[in-house]
């Protein structure tokens, strides 16, 4: 039942070219779209709110102190088309995220994809990242399998 529903969502999304009208409510120039970065930690907040979802994780820095990282994605009523819902993440669960980081170096970015410990890959992204190509690149180069928190690689 769930798979049928999701398949309908995805088929409709492709068939209608629904994305052609999409325009996030802000520009993405705060993100450095030339780089991708891996962060991993435990979910601290999952804000499934309009106009952009935000997923926050706590991750230890080089000194072992926890830093809260945040990644922004699309609107709930857009990312639900990619199977991402308000209960897709549990507080405290471990996740790995590949994102395009903020230009100014603050601990945040635009999400490309999120890998959960059970192997699920979710893509609650917005227009700042084309996640499928980034995922393939990270997989093909072994960056995802062998990567650690903070690793960076070019977007292109």
């Amino acid at each position: 039942m769930y798979d049928k529903m999701l398949a309908n969502l995805l088929t409709a999304a492709v068939g209608l070219g629904w994305m052609t009208g999409a325009s996030a409510h802000h520009s993405f120039t705060m993100f450095d779209k030339t780089r991708t970065q891996l962060i991993e930690g435990t979910v601290a907040e999952w804000q499934y709110n309009s106009p952009h979802i935000w997923l926050y994780i706590d991750a230890p820095d080089a000194k072992g102190e926890l830093v809260r990282w945040g990644v922004e994605g699309g609107a709930p009523l857009m990312v639900i088309r990619q199977g991402v819902r308000g209960d897709s993440f549990r507080l405290g669960e471990h996740v790995r995220i590949v994102m395009t980081p903020m230009r100014d170096g603050r601990p945040a970015g635009a999400v490309c994809f999120v890998v959960k410990d059970d192997g699920q890959t979710l893509m609650p992204n917005d227009g700042s990242c084309s996640p499928n190509g980034v995922l393939k690149k990270w997989q093909d180069n072994g960056w995802l399998q062998n990567g650690k928190h903070g690793d960076e690689h070019p977007y292109e």
Binding site: N8, A12, W18, T20, A22, T29, R90, L91, Q120, M123
Partner: protein, 331 residues
């Protein structure tokens, strides 16, 4: 969730996300209907509207039983607006590409648009969008705003509701314009009439805004005449087709016509989507920095707002704004 589900996610992501980023036509998007220009040239929106009203013999007087219904959830689709202002611009819009079409905009507005496109070419997109400051999209931008829309047609009014900032348009059927506030607003004042199953609308007293991010500005003299009708496309999907003519004696050299599409989204209804209330100023963390770029405040930074809401009584039981996720985490 099963493996093949994620294969589907990958498929749609591969196809959909580049389209999102580029704002271009999707690979399997249905053809855009042809633009229907007005039956003759009109100098003003009023002249255009009055002509159509006369042609319709005052319009069709619908009852609750006969008025066309456009039920369900809708999302904005393709449109021809970008082509009005950019040569080779289809697929660009928000992003780089296309050349400013000369002589469509008045000199001051063309100069501003050219500068805006230079910024887009240099930076990949416009550095700051007024919506990030919680300004309403308004019209004409409403016609292309994404998110989810609903339409309610009643004999006396039509309501056009966008999830985005709860920005609703009200169209007063069979009435004349009224401006008791002596003010402009984001969506202006809309009056209309039905011609059979087609809704004709004239909107005026609109705040100066823009056609969308990366596109030209509109002036406070902007008005538009729309004709809305529901059709079923070749795939059996319901669509709302809007033929619109923009009148802007300050921004446009001459009136311009475009077509917009909204697509019925039964897949969202099947997924259980319901439109919720959300308000921008209490939930947004974006702002314009000193360099004119869009920025976002992070938790702990001055001015950060929790988009889920706020409470002054966090120490009391039952005041959490995230009780469902917290309960799940406690299991």
């Amino acid at each position: 969730m099963k493996t093949h589900t994620f294969v589907l996610i990958g498929l749609v992501a591969a196809l959909a996300v580049p389209g999102l980023a580029q704002n271009g036509p999707g690979p399997a998007a249905a053809p855009l209907p042809a633009v229907e220009t007005p039956p003759r040239a009109f100098a003003t929106a009023e002249e255009h509207y009055r002509f159509l009203l006369q042609q319709a013999n005052g319009g069709t007087r619908h009852t609750l039983e006969t008025i066309p219904q456009w039920p369900g959830l809708w999302t904005s689709g393709r449109n021809s607006m970008v082509d009005l202002f950019l040569d080779g611009g289809r697929g660009a819009g928000l992003g780089p590409g296309g050349k400013v079409r000369p002589g469509v905009l008045t000199p001051a507005y063309e100069a501003h648009f050219s500068k805006r496109r230079e910024e887009v070419e240099k930076n990949g997109e416009q550095l700051f969008d007024r919506l990030a400051n919680c300004e309403y999209p308004g019209v004409p931008r409403w016609l292309w705003e994404p998110y989810v829309k609903e339409f309610v047609n009643l004999p006396e009014q039509s309501w056009m509701l966008n999830d985005f900032m709860n920005e609703g348009r009200r169209v007063y059927i069979g009435k004349e314009h009224v401006n008791f506030e002596a003010k402009h607003s984001s969506t202006g004042d809309s009056i209309g009439f039905w011609q059979g199953d087609e809704l004709v609308i004239w909107t005026k007293w609109v705040n100066p805004a823009d056609y969308t991010r990366g596109m030209p500005l509109t002036s406070n003299q902007f008005e538009m005449v729309e004709r809305w009708r529901q059709v079923e496309n070749a795939e059996g999907r319901r669509q709302l087709i809007t033929q619109v003519t923009f009148y802007d004696p300050i921004g446009l050299v001459a009136p311009q016509s475009a077509v917009y599409v909204h697509n019925h989204a039964p897949e969202l209804e099947e997924a259980g989507v319901r439109v919720r209330n959300w308000e921008c100023t209490t939930s947004t963390n974006t702002y314009k920095d000193a360099e004119g770029r869009t920025q976002s405040r992070l938790p702990g930074e001055p001015g950060y707002k929790d988009p889920r809401g706020s409470t002054e009584f966090a120490d009391l039981p039952g005041q959490s704004l995230d009780p469902i996720l917290e309960a799940q985490a406690a299991e």
